[in-house]
Symmetry: none
Subunit: 193 residues, 4 copies
């Protein structure tokens, strides 16, 4: 969620957008606001993102999906169990929440609800994000001996409890709903392995 070292205009715009979309959703954030936060001139936006706000949103989703995906793949690469990976991701998200005082979070869920109906490209980006997470977990569950159907249901539950937990956590301004949800699902995942 925090920006890297590069501060190219394009990057600054994208990261400003990620923060703002996380905090307030797609429609409540104006491009002017993004530009102001990115300290970028108006013309730059349409230079770097010719398709406008929607394109920024798509890239924001992809960036965030990739970040989470990397956390998952990383865990598995180190031989961690699906349950412990799920808990690790939940802790990662909890860290973002806390850093922003529970003001930012669940960009993808937000986009799913606001923009999916209108914009097929954003719908696709959201679907791809969730699918990527689910598939990674499902694959590992199967690799560890879980029956395919069970693995599918469990991985889907894992994503659902992450997204749902994220929402509850913001509302409660506490990490507990998110972390505890992940922990309980983790037991199911690892216990069934």
């Amino acid at each position: 969620v925090s920006s890297g070292v590069t501060t190219s205009t394009r990057e600054r715009i994208l990261h400003a957008a990620i923060h703002l979309f996380q905090a307030r959703g797609y429609h409540a954030v104006g491009v002017n606001e993004i530009l102001e936060r990115a300290d970028a001139p108006k013309g730059s936006l349409y230079h770097h993102f010719p398709n406008g706000k929607g394109e920024i949103a798509r890239e924001a989703i992809a960036w965030l999906a990739g970040t989470v995906s990397k956390m998952i793949e990383d865990g598995f690469a180190r031989g961690k169990s699906p349950g412990s990976v799920l808990v690790k991701v939940a802790h990662g998200m909890a860290g973002w929440l806390e850093q922003s005082q529970w003001r930012e979070g669940s960009l993808i869920a937000s986009m799913a609800q606001e923009s999916v109906p209108d914009d097929p490209a954003i719908h696709e980006a959201v679907r791809a994000a969730y699918d990527c997470w689910r598939t990674a977990m499902k694959r590992e569950l199967i690799a560890r001996g879980t029956p395919t159907a069970t693995a599918g249901a469990l991985s889907s539950l894992g994503v659902a409890c992450l997204e749902g937990g994220l929402i509850l956590a913001r509302v409660d301004q506490s990490n507990k709903p998110l972390v505890q949800a992940a922990e309980q699902v983790a037991v199911l995942m690892d216990g069934s392995g």
Copy 2:
């Protein structure tokens, strides 16, 4: 989610708003659109909801929260187990999704993400909704012998998997993620009784 028999202007406006907010979220829906769907003139909106769009949203959240709450209380009143109540609620929500071709759903989650940062009154309405559901489930779990801490975590997980499942279901245009998530959590709930 469907309107009753009364067609007072106020009711028509409220139900039109519920449908539209469900479908596209708070900020993407304009008051003009609500009025058009409700077939009501502009002046009526501010007559019945003097505080404008936000007031409509608050009432929409309360209405939906109450509807779900009634489903929960109903189940418990008939002696159902927490797990089976959770599954019943999930099926109820799935029915709404399907009826609207997965275009409407998760109004409360949507409001949580879009409006919570700005509007304390809406934040409170969302918090009250989630709390009401959680408390009802927690109370019943405890009544059936679940330790208090476990009951709290399980009921929170139940709500999280409902909201998360709802989001996945919309994205996948399928009830499976929602229903399966509830079923898996139901096992945890009833198995721990």
Copy 3:
């Protein structure tokens, strides 16, 4: 400027309107505001003033014009000189200004500028008000020996310096511009008698 003893709905509406129009002018005051201040329901307005806001304004102008007119006639009836009457009126107006902390004043001038272009009836009410004051002073000046042409010019100057002084007094939040202007014109009036 202060209400009398009667508190019929009609009177309450009229006096609420007078205060509000004085403070902010015709277009900046809404009928809802008038009704709220008068503690009257909406339907009452169009019961008592079938021609709406404009009719209230006309009556407000007439009421205020009459009040000032009475001050003038009173002074002359007691044998006062035109100059001293002018000063007395200025002091009266200054009292209103001060009572309202220089927030209310110059309703008629306000109406003249806001509504004269649009509404002939209001134009006529304003014209009648100014004419009534001017004529009374002119008549008395002539009666005291001032040549007709001079009397006309002086009385017109008297009204002009009252209205102009009122404006300056509000802007400066001080009675001085109004009172001093009247005093200087009073010298001209009485010195030329």
Copy 4:
């Protein structure tokens, strides 16, 4: 009051606003109307006047105040007496009235009454305008030997009779009340030198 040669969008908007505000006051003029008269799109308005209608009003007041101020300073620079300068200004204003068929006039008085209560920035602009005129006349009166106190009262009277005369002139649709008022005050000014 008439526009110059430049027709930059900003200038067109400002001059359209000046005309309309003069004719009907602040609240009775809508921004759409200004834009229509200026033949400018809405985006331009908020590009050139980011603070909206109020900012336009402030600049309109400043423009008009400056125009009158220049007339005053011009007269003094040519060695004219305060009284003759006052009469010259009155004739200038009378010309504007006549040109517009007595439909436009007294923008500053209008703003004073409509917007002073609400908007401190506009109040300040109005106060500055009147102060500028008064101070210029007072300075010259003192330079010609008038005692300070008398000079202050006379210059204030001068402004009051201009604004009051302007109002009467519009109501009567005649320049007489304005010009005669100025002439009578001019005698006081120059006679006391």
